[in-house]
């Protein structure tokens, strides 16, 4: 029971991560972990700030989607 609940949780996490990445928003937790480990001097943005920055960044480059 516990195990199936756990696998359900991890599949949900996978789905959320994939869905967000499809919209150009990478995993926030991974980013925070990266900042804490490699750039402890930088301020950690809130999810909302992180989201806005990524949203703007997605449509700056070229390509990104297909016909």
């Amino acid at each position: 029971m516990n195990r199936s609940l756990q696998s359900l949780q991890s599949s949900w996490k996978w789905a959320v991560q994939t869905a967000r990445l499809c919209c150009g928003v990478p995993d926030y937790d991974v980013y925070v972990k990266h900042l804490r480990e490699h750039h402890p001097e930088r301020a950690v943005p809130s999810y909302e700030e992180f989201f806005r920055e990524r949203q703007a960044a997605r449509y700056k480059g070229t390509g990104g989607r297909c016909c």
């Binding site: 990445l21 499809c22 919209c23 995993d27 980013y31 990266h34 070229t62 989607r65 297909c66 016909c67």
Partner: protein, 691 residues
Amino acid sequence: MHTRAANPPSPAGKILWATIAIVGAFCLGVVALRRGEPINAIWLVAAAMAVFVIGYRFYGKFINNSVLQLDPSRATPAVLRNDGLDYVPTDKWVVFGHHFAAIAGAGPLVGPVLAAQMGYLPGTLWILFGVVFAGAVQDFMILGISLRRGGRSLGHMLREELGPKAGIVAMFGVLVLMMIVLAVLALVVVKALTHSPWGTFTVACTIPTALLMGVYMRWFRPGRILEVSIIGVLLLLGSIWLGARVAASPTWGPMFDFDAGTLAWLLIAYGSCASILPVWLLLAPRDYLSTFLKIGTIALLALAIFLAAPMLQLPAVTKFIDGTGPVFQGGLFPFLFITIACGAVSGWHSIIASGTTPKLLANEGSAQMVGYGGMLMEAFVAIMALVAAASLHPGVYFAMNSPGALIGTTVQQAATTISQWGFVVTPDQLIQTAKDIGEHSILSRAGGAPTLAVGMAQLLQGIMPGEGMMAFWYHYAILFEALFILTTVDAGTRVGRFMIQEIVGLIHKPLERTESWVSNLLATAICVSLWGYFLYQGAVDPLGGINTLWPLFGIANQMLAAIALMLATVVVVKLKRERYVLVPGIPALWLIICTLTAGWEKLSGPISFTGAARKYAQGMQDGKLLAPAKSVAEMQRIVTNNYVDMALTGLFMLLVVTMVVFALRAILKAWQINHPTTHEEPYVALSSMAS
């Protein structure tokens, strides 16, 4: 080189693969050889799955081990440059989902539907063999090559491997291709919405829905994509329901009833405004909706095909393989191979395979699954679109996809003409189909989307019967395609703007600045007028537009694929792995032959733009009106448009030839040197990066 111990296949494995091969060959045999009686779509789907699985396991693996020599012990750009934002080592299934969502678009749904005029067999065979030997090879090799170069873009790699001039030529080619893509996709929407108040109303509703979502996510619940997307989808489903009432209302209905020319202008106006608004307001929310609806709709289509298991009513091969088809002109070779671009091989994918994806892969060992496997999934979508079209009544299919100039504008004329072609259909059947889907007419709705929508609606009706359900599903499918295409138009106009600024910046430096309003507005105006011109030309074209623009799009898209495969060929030679040069070399050569032959036939001969322009110019000189033109102005327009299309075709051919010269030069040079000369980054062991 770090090689892995090859595992010898176990006896059970051998039996499994032999079984898959036999089942696949049997299904393919049924699809290819059974004549005279309709076959079930499941045969086709099963054959496709067997071919894909075998192609992945054997050819994909061969490319992985021998041609690209990918190495799971080698650190990827995501690991080397991990910044938590663009370069992030990510779970391979997440990358796969992201990659597939980025490559799957309207293309694989439209091309196979148009190609169905030749029967389902030619399209099926090209999709199956094209994807295994060309499309998936291109995606996978470009991904693998980019992985070894810090996740660089296609343009950047072309500059490095083929020289700076080749990079500029390719950039220019991509820009022109993009304008044609936007025009032809927008035209698909115009064709679907012409005189369809229900469709127009629901598609118009996506604008306020997206604005609402944008505002909600900006101020009320920032970053809650799932929540806001659910609200958006519910609003859209509500707008489909409301659309039926609007279309039936004598006051509201006519307000959403437009002809093709007006719709084209509306789309041009929309594209200009949308690409200037902040992205969070309109583009981003639209993007979320279209991404989720796209995945959901593809899943729904797969479910419908498996559950409904329709019979394929279209013949395996029709007489139109001789080039006299009403949907597009031109014979099987080369036109089948440029009509089905996305789904078999698509140049666009090389941009995505060298964009975000290589920056996310945590291990080189996952590249085959994402690059090769992702493209196989896309081919499967194309097969499903083909099934949806082929399971329609052939008479209905041709009524929907032939221009009015050929089949007339009344159901009686259309039924008579199409029956004469050998696809017996009665006017009542055409009227009944229109009534079932809640529209006034189904005639001459070329462009793939409406045909796919009718096919899908029939399949879904088959598994979920109910009063008025078919009309609902039809408009759902139209809404999904239009939503998706409008997102592309918006995003594409922005990307086109950046590219124009980059190109103009080569001539006049200050115009390159993307923060300058003057330069932005100027570049946006240039971009919108470029695709807008072709859209309007297609919308008012008495011959229907799609049969002019789609070949141009196909030639351009396959041209880009040829360029990407040439890059792969050059890299293989530069790595001194000449014995594998044919792996990317043969598909590159095939696409060069197809684009140049198709281009040539469009430049001179009976189906050429030049021929059409001359014919109408001669008619004007003689003071005659040639059908379908109804006035001298229309004659003049046909002449001008054909000359423009002719010039564009010539330009594409020149681009291909130039790139061939650059590639051959690079290949010859590399062949003579006896050591690798490519720009690969040095090996770093993954184990040394473990944190």
